[in-house]
């Protein structure tokens, strides 16, 4: 994962609407946005960012790129991502919501053989507070620090960052893997990245009902993660099947037992893995402080 301010960033689905505004916000935050892609606007410049019709055209001018961020129509996201992979871009963040899951299945088959990291879809992307913004995070809420946040939602991530900031705990990285049934990167991948990240001293994992990725994460934390992890699961009181549009909760669990995917199952998994659980966002700062004090910044 290349997350330094120097790394070059492309914006696909770049247009006069939201995406060029977000690109300007990213640039203002210090992100090295080198070009935007829009077939109909090749040759133009928007918000001081040169626009190209094709990814390969942009790379011919700006050189190799580390990360591309995909905005625009969710039905065109697969094509945009495949275009980026064909141009040897190996970090892709998909912002747009509404991408059909079978498009993601196709993309993942391709991403796995090319060792491409996909973050999203339906994700605000990644923020390294004070350094780089790759996506649509509400950057004003974050402060630089040592707590890594990995979650499946956007505004709930901001809520947690806000609580940490207000308690004097800055953040090292904030990332949402996306709220869809099928996402590119997983909790496991991000736990590993945060475990290896030198700035991060504690990790907050934010889950919700649906799928089995929190359960898998709990097992992985017990086995492989040295840094302290705090878990928080939203949706304990939500009736089963009510998901307010987060299709992650629709995940098929046929043949995997009836309880998989409920908040209760996830909480039980973290309990078994001896991961401290916050009952509410406001509890997170104190649990982080306790864990940091106890662990002294990492088990040996």
């Amino acid at each position: 994962m290349k997350l330094t301010p120097e790394s070059k960033v492309l914006i696909q689905g770049f247009d006069e609407l939201g995406s060029s505004t977000h690109a300007a916000l990213m640039k203002a935050y210090g992100t090295n946005v080198v070009a935007g892609i829009n077939p109909g606007l090749g040759g133009h410049t928007l918000n001081d960012i040169p626009v190209f019709a094709l990814v390969e055209q942009a790379l011919a001018v700006v050189g190799a790129v580390d990360t591309t961020i995909i905005f625009g129509s969710p039905y065109q996201a697969l094509d945009a991502a495949l275009e980026a992979i064909a141009a040897d871009i190996r970090q892709i963040i998909i912002i747009c919501a509404g991408m059909p899951p079978l498009d993601m299945v196709n993309l993942l088959r391709k991403a796995e053989t090319t060792e491409t990291l996909i973050v999203g879809p339906n994700s605000p992307g990644i923020i390294v507070p004070g350094k780089i913004l790759l996506g649509t995070h509400a950057s004003e809420i974050y402060t630089p620090g040592t707590v890594g946040i990995v979650s499946r939602s956007s505004t709930l991530t901001y809520e947690i960052a806000l609580q940490l900031t207000q308690a004097g705990l800055g953040q090292s990285i904030g990332v949402s893997i996306g709220s869809d049934i099928i996402t590119g990167s997983s909790f496991l991948q991000w736990l590993q990245i945060l475990d290896e990240d030198e700035t991060t001293q504690a990790i907050v994992l934010v889950g919700e009902p649906g799928g089995n990725s929190e359960e898998a994460a709990a097992r992985y934390i017990a086995e492989a993660i040295d840094k302290p992890v705090i878990a928080y699961i939203a949706g304990r009181q939500a009736p089963v099947g009510k998901h307010w549009g987060h299709t992650g909760t629709l995940a098929a669990v046929v043949g995997r037992g009836a309880n998989v995917g409920t908040a209760q199952s996830k909480l039980a998994a973290f309990k078994e893995a001896k991961v401290p659980i916050a009952e509410r966002p406001s509890q997170i700062p104190e649990l982080v402080k306790k864990a940091l004090k106890k662990g002294g910044g990492g088990k040996e």
């Binding site: 995406s19 969710p74 059909p100 901001y158 809520e159 939203a234 009181q237 307010w244 098929a252």
Partner: protein, 392 residues
């Protein structure tokens, strides 16, 4: 979107999956023009399960019995759902019954082929009978053969069942499905296969790129005749018989707010997710308009006494959000006729976070609405107001 059995079977027929001769019945008198020979099975076309046990499936031998049975089934509500059509189908005697499905699996992040030698089962209750094959790479028929063999099939059944699984997979991909299920798949004594019941769920996100399915969705929505079509406001869910409304931006934040309110001893009636407000996908309404209409929508629910508004990190600043809320409150006060069905609109508790909080506080204070910065405090305030005997 779930299809009805007869719609699923039309797709099966197009794909070459064997189905019985059948006819759609819109009203009992249609049975006079029945083109398939008796004995016939009449089946209520509802989306809920357990229709057989509920009396929604009847065997009939002649027109008189058929019309009587159809009248009964048309008036039989199954788990609250009345059928709009019935399906009349040739009776079939299966020697054995299998189970087949293709489903999208979140854990494997791939489609999953499912099959059982024992069809007609409730798969959730007997997962041990269910065989699975993950379609790791692009589908090829050998994945279907893997399933057939895992199911314990032998001889020519391996190829014939595999070939049906192949067609189900094609349908799954062609129509962007979450699920296609044949349960049961009838097997005659001579080894002939027949899809006796079928279930198809189209992925909601993909509907718009299939003109034929979009048309089906439109018809379904126009029957439901909702004032707020899907996606207009965001997403809302009726939660419980409570007196609190929750309005937030983002599903995770709404769920957290619901947890906090419930833990503090109140019950929510409706939770509304406006979308996180940084969403760049074209929605029918801009964020401010969704907020205004969302407030109206929750106000119309007479059981809701307090609405907790929790908005964090939207592109709209707290000042802009406060302006929308204040305008709504003023409009309600100035036009009591708008809400003549009720004595009063619900009390509002507003929790915002962002840059121009002071401005927001002032604007809301002007209409006697309290802005609470801290989420826990906002929840406490909401629960306190919800316990006050209703003025409405």
């Amino acid at each position: 979107m779930d299809l009805l059995e007869y719609q699923a079977k039309e797709w099966f027929r197009e794909m070459g999956i064997p189905v019985l001769p059948s006819q759609r019945i819109d009203r009992p008198s249609d049975l006079k023009g029945l083109k398939i020979p008796y004995p016939v099975v009449l089946k209520s076309q509802v989306r809920t399960g357990g229709r057989g046990r509920a009396g929604g499936v009847k065997f009939v031998e002649n027109t008189i019995d058929a019309i009587a049975a159809a009248q009964t089934i048309f008036h039989l509500s199954i788990l609250g759902e009345l059928p709009e059509v019935l399906l009349a189908e040739t009776k079939y005697d299966a020697d054995r019954e299998f189970y087949l499905a293709v489903v999208l699996d979140a854990a494997a992040r791939r489609p999953l082929l499912l099959g059982s030698f024992q069809g007609g089962i409730d798969v959730e209750s007997a997962p041990e009978l269910l065989q699975q094959v993950v379609v790791e790479q692009e589908f090829s028929p050998f994945y279907a053969r893997r399933l057939s063999l895992k199911m314990g099939l032998q001889g020519t059944l391996i190829q014939s069942v595999s070939s049906i699984v192949e067609k189900m997979y094609q349908l799954f991909v062609q129509k962007d499905l979450d699920l296609v299920e044949i349960n049961p798949l009838g097997v005659s004594s001579s080894g002939k296969l027949m899809a006796l019941d079928g279930k198809v769920t189209v992925n909601d996100r993909a509907i718009a790129r299939h003109p034929d399915i979009a048309l089906m969705a439109e018809k379904k929505a126009s029957r439901a005749n909702s004032r707020y079509p899907a996606g207009m406001l965001g997403t809302w869910e009726e939660v419980a018989a409570g007196n609190v409304g929750i309005l937030g931006n983002g599903a995770g934040l709404v769920m957290t707010t619901l947890d906090l309110v419930t833990d503090a001893g109140s019950k929510a009636a409706t939770c509304l997710n406006l979308g996180h407000g940084r969403n760049l996908n074209p929605l029918p309404l801009a964020f401010g308009d969704r907020l205004k209409q969302g407030l109206e929508f929750l106000s119309q629910n007479k059981s809701i006494q307090v609405v907790l508004i929790n908005i964090v990190g939207s592109i709209f600043t707290p000042g802009e959000i406060a302006e929308v809320i204040a305008n709504f409150v003023q409009h309600q006060e100035e036009h009591p006729s708008v809400s003549k069905m009720r004595h009063a609109y619900p009390r509002l508790v507003v929790r915002l976070a962002g840059t121009d909080l002071e401005l927001a506080k002032e604007r809301l204070a002007a209409v006697q609405v309290l802005l609470v910065e801290n989420l826990d405090e906002a929840v406490e305030q909401t629960v306190r107001l919800a316990k006050v005997p209703a003025k409405r």
